[in-house]
Subunit: 232 residues, 2 copies
DNA sequence: ATAATTCCTTTTGTACTACATATTGATCGG
DNA sequence: CCGATCAATATGTAGTACAAAAGGAATTAT
């Protein structure tokens, strides 16, 4: 199905820039360049590849966007360490993604949320718990719609942060808009979602007294309305 | 820390292509383009932005790489649905990522693995179980090193597939090389890792008789050696 | 002699032109 | 009325030219 497309399309529609991009990738890998190493100049690459400098620049522009290379005016280009999530960020717009992908991401976030218990228990500190309690305390007062979302983000965001895993935290943050978007859509079609039986407050209590297993169970209950909506 | 960098760097080092890329993104969002809509021609964009067509093409080249736009020879460019993971794929190379990021991804995969139980129980079929049993049966014979990795991939890969979530599955597959890479590194420095008490065979049994909660516990035990290696 | 300044060289960034190529749509012929 | 050929058009590629910045070399001053 899709495999055929991936085999045939590149042959027919591959442009020079595409090929040069791929060649450069291969070149960097084969030469075992490490971050900081200098790359040949644009003109040299163009000559070596037998294309115009224009094409080379289009390919380099892509690698530059991904953070794979850094270029400075006279010093030439150097290999850099790309920010993996930086590239994702650019594409993760609910408005341009397909419905299936959005649904997949929605589920992915549930999976992530369910799996973070062990990391949290590995690294949580009393200070973290205290902050969570502050967040929960502020929730009690304001239950209006705009604030509820804010508190959801504050609470769950703090949980990600407690994992001590920066990539994980940023990843979750990026997924948030998609989550909200799908949620809004679901609510519009299926009516208001009820809230889970286990509250944020309960989860914090579990963090203080229970173990990772308990926390996972609590989180499952907390997210139950979302899970119930999933189609088998 | 990094926030400052993100605010200051763009001002100082932003090239025209960077700005045009950002402008185009904003433009697409503001005009609420939907996939299939036609974009203005390159020359028109260049004129409107006050830059050369060259710069516009560098920016478009980036969007094209991300799959955000499709272009055909005369028909112009049309907005497309980007493949979110496609962009990740290009950057997820263990050799060029930093050590911290690699460690983060290693942990991320453990998190994902721990969180997939509910999706599996929502969607598993008898056929899936049968396939898993076949995979496990083949494991028994060959325990040599190259085969073990293959079976690991086959087994866990099948689990992802059972979630019915294509994005999730591809994501996991992409994370695999990083996982292996970090694992190899750990083994080299800390010696061979022992294997978890719960085997693949046990997990399949749980899938047949137990519930999602049991499966999560089993998976935790199965991955215990990895979790034990994590630093608090 | 050492340090600071100035100038020159080099490489990227941008602009412009020209033309090839493919696709669309229209015109022309059967 | 349908099919084929041909022209128009937008992207793809090449090539030239020059501006700007950054590093290094040479020169001057203390």
């Amino acid at each position: 199905m899709n495999d055929l497309k991936k085999d045939i399309q590149p042959v027919s529609t591959a442009t020079m820039a595409d090929m040069v991009e791929s060649r450069l990738r291969e070149y960097l890998k084969r030469k075992s360049f490490v971050p900081g190493d200098a790359l040949p100049k644009e003109q040299e690459l163009a000559d070596a590849l037998g294309v115009s400098r224009n094409v080379v620049r289009e390919a380099l522009s892509r690698l530059r966007m991904l953070g794979m290379i850094d270029t400075r005016k006279k010093r030439g280009m150097i290999l850099a360490q790309p920010d993996i999530l930086g590239s994702l960020e650019r594409v993760l717009d609910p408005l341009i993604l397909g419905k299936n992908t959005l649904q997949d991401i929605f589920e992915l976030r549930l999976v992530l949320e369910m799996g973070l218990a062990d990391l949290i228990y590995l690294r949580k500190t009393p200070a973290d718990i205290a902050q969570l309690e502050t967040i929960v305390a502020q929730e009690v007062n304001k239950q209006q719609k705009p604030f509820r979302v804010e508190h959801e983000i504050a609470f769950h965001g703090k949980l990600y942060q407690m994992t001590g895993n920066d990539t994980y935290m940023r990843f979750q943050k990026m997924l948030l808009p998609v989550f909200e978007y799908v949620l809004d859509y679901e609510i519009k079609t299926n009516g208001q979602a009820e809230v889970g039986k286990v509250t944020h407050h309960d989860l914090v209590e579990t963090l203080k007294t229970g173990n990772a297993e308990d926390f996972r169970k609590g989180m499952k209950e907390h997210l139950k309305p979302h899970f119930d909506r999933l189609k088998a």
